[in-house]
């Protein structure tokens, strides 16, 4: 029997208050429980109150995928005026599900059924009425709609019931009971409907059975990475989209005897983090662009005093308060270069949820091994999106990566900043006999004493820069990777951060169209793996750099390093880059090659 490769994206669109995100959450948890791979990403308004638009999208697959799909297979409308613009996302022979019995008369053109393309299939459902019949109230119309979707595609009923029970476990038992009733009523309706759409959900693949995989967001993966790496202290100040890192750590760290403190602002948070790093603790903070801007002075101190610390920065639309609930990749410059002086630091940018965990864990090792602040650059799309992740059985992170000083002569002054071959000095922490030293923001000599002689500044600056190159070979982390065709290709995609998933999907689609194509992800943005990038670019006739900022911050970084111009594909819509747009860019770059070839 041939099994269907499932690859279905379900979008649920409603108004804040319709329970859109809640049912999206149940959907993805249920499907992950049932053993499918899941990637999910929600869009919601910045305002906590009000009636803004919410969209919960979930991609359910049996195979490994890397991003949300360019088009949706099933759209559920809980609010037509919000959902109407999203009808265009639904592919031909996909489904649009909507409420067939709104409360009041609707003006012409305001019902979603009037906006379907001829190729899309409509399903109407009296959500409110069914909810009332099943539960005595219309509150659960969102759950009815979810049940309908589950019944329509024969999704595993029990997994949903379990997910509903888990969702409402902190509420009174009746809440779960009534939602299960609403779900079941919707399910029964869905199961009775004759389906015309061409959306197929097969059984989950064996190897992704739930015991092997966990579904989590990028921020949750960061937290797991911190815990697996043995984080000891965390200092933070809440800011979207980084807040959930602190919230989760606040719950988890005390269980492991670790400490978390919410400080009065970001300056205090980074100061405390650097301070804790100085004492030898594994320590971190988490923030977003505006908070990181406030941290920049202390980042300089961290670099100068060679203090290990990890800073998670989840980007959002900027500058200033900007678009707090929208995604963007416009803090690359500030992460890599931000601040004063020659303050080179390590910057890692994971490309998926598993990468968030790995980068988090390795960031602590790197901070210790290279005695520097390490920035882990996320973005809202990555922080908030859910993916099913398979973690290795054994914790891979090294508990102590420090180059510890051997303090045999306690009476002699300690050369904390000794100039060594690899640039990394032996390190002692306060309280170690023979390790007494000064850590200062002033330029200093090997003992840490202030010293602004020209040679000293040059040597120390060189040390602080060159020691970081070893990070390019840090074990247990992939800092760049090439995918797709090997050897010479017509089009290469060079991408970073969350956009890499879309780039990879687009590359795979382009290859399926017969375009010779490859994609490289770059995880370490500083120091930049220049040589592998150079080799990759040499193989590519055209290079596209897709990223979510206006001018191409990564394109600038790469062009500056390798001296080659690239095709910039920049979007600042607040949304993830659309796979189709990258695919179009690949097609047009490949076409350009052909035209040039035939002209020649």
């Amino acid at each position: 029997m041939t099994s269907i490769h499932t690859d279905v994206q379900i979008g649920i669109c409603g108004s804040a208050g319709d329970g859109t995100i809640a049912v999206g959450d149940i959907l993805k948890r249920a499907m992950a429980r049932a053993g499918y791979r899941v990637i999910a990403f929600d869009e919601y308004p910045a305002e906590i109150r009000g009636f803004g638009k919410c969209v919960a999208r979930t991609r359910i697959t049996t195979e490994q995928v890397y991003s949300m799909k360019p088009s949706t297979d099933v759209l559920v409308s809980l609010n037509d005026s919000h959902a109407i613009p999203h009808v265009q996302e639904v592919r031909d022979y996909g489904a649009v599900i909507y409420d067939s019995a709104p409360i009041s008369l609707i003006e012409e053109g305001w019902h979603i059924s009037g906006h379907l393309n001829p190729g899309q299939l409509p399903y109407s459902l009296a959500m409110r009425e069914i909810s009332e019949q099943a539960t005595g109230a219309n509150r659960s119309r969102n759950i009815v709609a979810l049940g309908f979707v589950a019944g329509l595609y024969r999704l595993p009923r029990q997994a949903f019931i379990d997910a509903i029970a888990a969702k409402f476990q902190t509420k009174a038992a009746e809440v779960t009971e009534s939602n299960v009733k609403a779900f079941s009523a919707g399910y029964d309706h869905g199961a009775q409907v004759y389906r015309f759409d061409k959306v197929e959900v097969g059984p989950p693949a064996r190897r992704t059975r739930k015991q092997d995989s966990t579904m989590m967001t990028g921020n949750a993966a960061v937290v797991r990475g911190c815990l697996d790496a043995g984080i000891e202290t965390f200092f933070g100040y809440p800011i979207t989209p980084a807040t959930s890192i602190m919230e989760r750590l606040a719950v988890e760290m005390p269980k492991h005897g670790a400490r978390l403190l919410q400080t009065e602002d970001e300056i205090a948070a980074i100061s405390a983090t650097i301070g804790a790093g100085f004492t030898g603790a594994r320590t971190a903070t988490a923030t977003s662009g505006p908070g990181f801007a406030l941290m920049s002075e202390m980042m300089g101190l961290g670099v100068m005093a060679e203090v290990p610390a990890v800073v998670f920065v989840s980007q959002r639309g900027g500058p200033s308060t900007g678009m707090p609930t929208k995604t963007e990749q416009s803090d690359l410059n500030v992460a890599v270069f931000g601040g004063h002086g020659d303050a080179k630091r390590i910057v890692l940018a994971p490309t998926n949820v598993e990468g968030c965990w790995r980068c988090a864990g390795r960031a602590f090792e790197m901070a210790e091994a290279y005695q520097t602040p390490v920035v882990v650059l996320l973005d809202l799309y990555l922080s908030n999106r859910y993916e099913t992740v398979v973690f290795p059985k054994d914790n891979p992170f090294i508990a102590d990566a420090s180059k510890r000083a051997v303090l045999e002569k306690p009476d002699e002054p300690f050369r904390r900043f000794e100039l060594t071959v690899d640039g990394v000095s032996p390190r002692a922490v306060p309280g170690e006999a023979g390790g007494i030293h000064t850590a200062t923001g002033l330029e200093h000599n090997e003992f840490g004493r202030p010293n602004d002689l020209s040679d000293m500044h040059h040597q120390m600056t060189e040390k602080r820069h060159e020691k970081l190159n070893a990070a390019l070979k840090h074990p247990g982390i992939t800092i760049y990777k090439r995918f797709g065709d090997t050897g010479e290709v017509d089009v290469g995609l060079l991408a970073w951060g969350s956009s890499f998933g879309e780039a990879l999907e687009a590359m795979l689609l382009a290859r399926a169209e017969g375009i010779r194509c490859a994609a490289m992800k770059v995880v370490m943005l500083s120091p930049l793996p220049v040589k592998p990038i150079q080799r990759f670019l040499n193989d590519c006739k055209e290079v596209i750099v897709p990223e979510l900022n206006y001018e191409g911050q990564f394109a600038n970084l790469v062009s500056g390093a390798v001296g080659r111009s690239v095709i910039r594909l920049n979007r600042v819509t607040g949304k993830p880059m659309a796979v189709n747009e990258i695919l179009d860019a690949i097609r047009s770059a490949a076409g350009k090659r052909k035209v040039r070839k035939s002209a020649a």
Binding site: P102, I106, E108, S113, L116, G119
Partner: protein
Amino acid sequence: MHHVIIGNGIAGSHAAQVLRERNPDGKITIISAGALLFYNRYDLPDVFRGRCDWIDYLVHPPAYYKENKIKLRRKSLVTEVDTNKRTLTLAHREVMSYDQLLVATGGAAYVPERLLEFIPLMHNFNNFRVAMEMRDALPDGGTVVMLGGDALGLDLARTLVETKHRVVLVAGDRTFWPHEVNPETRPRYMQALEKMHFEVIDGKQVDRVEQKNGKGPARRVVFDDGSDLPADVVMPFYGLSPSIDFMSNAGIDIERGVLVNPQLQTTRDDIWAAGDVCQIWSPEHNAYRFFYGWKNVKMMGEVAARNMTGDDVAFTTALDEVLQIQPDGTITSPFWDYD
């Protein structure tokens, strides 16, 4: 000008096409209770020949509607027409306006009152979904009991026999509908049915249809004389009843169907009707009457569309309505033809 057409059958769809040809800039909306684009229902017996994807029945690809700027509103049941305000209310409570309205809602299977309570136990064949459901309910070589035996049913029965199923026809006064068969010629036609390998039960009334559980056929047809007949599928074929419920308060003349003049205009200037839903004034018969069959219905769509765009043409039937007996003793109906 907003031309609104209720009904996505051949009458409505063809009217839309002609309207577009004659009025390139007008707004055209087809409203349909169904979920699918216009497809050929006459081909539906092909589900027994393995043609089971609805896409294969489409008359136009999805792109046709965009190219021709024809808006198709599916899953949109019209529940009321307000002819004074020129608005329609849809079941999902949206109110739509029109400048000109064409009613082309066809008809639904007519079931005699005494059998209405058994509808849940009977299968229909008037759309793709129910055709597929009927097909799924019928095992290979299974038995279909056809009640009534109108011309639409006989068309399906031919395919069922060809695909090795057993057809039992419970004949009565609606057999051969809409052909009128007089008592003298009836025996010849009944013989022809047997020649076509239908088993015919004549002169008995169905008392009830029962559900049978367990192994074997799922239904039992019980006659008024107490005899019974096991069946996998029971289907009513007693002719059609026009779909006009939503017009009851519209203030236009209705008898069994919507009454129209030979130009297919109703008693209101801005409302026309075409297809199985309308009764057309026939000077020849000096009465309003129905005209069935693909060719007639298509012609009605054309006539209505032309007159809605300023022409003045009258409908005349395109068919000879006589039921033919072929040299091999079988019958053919002109209503079975379509292009």
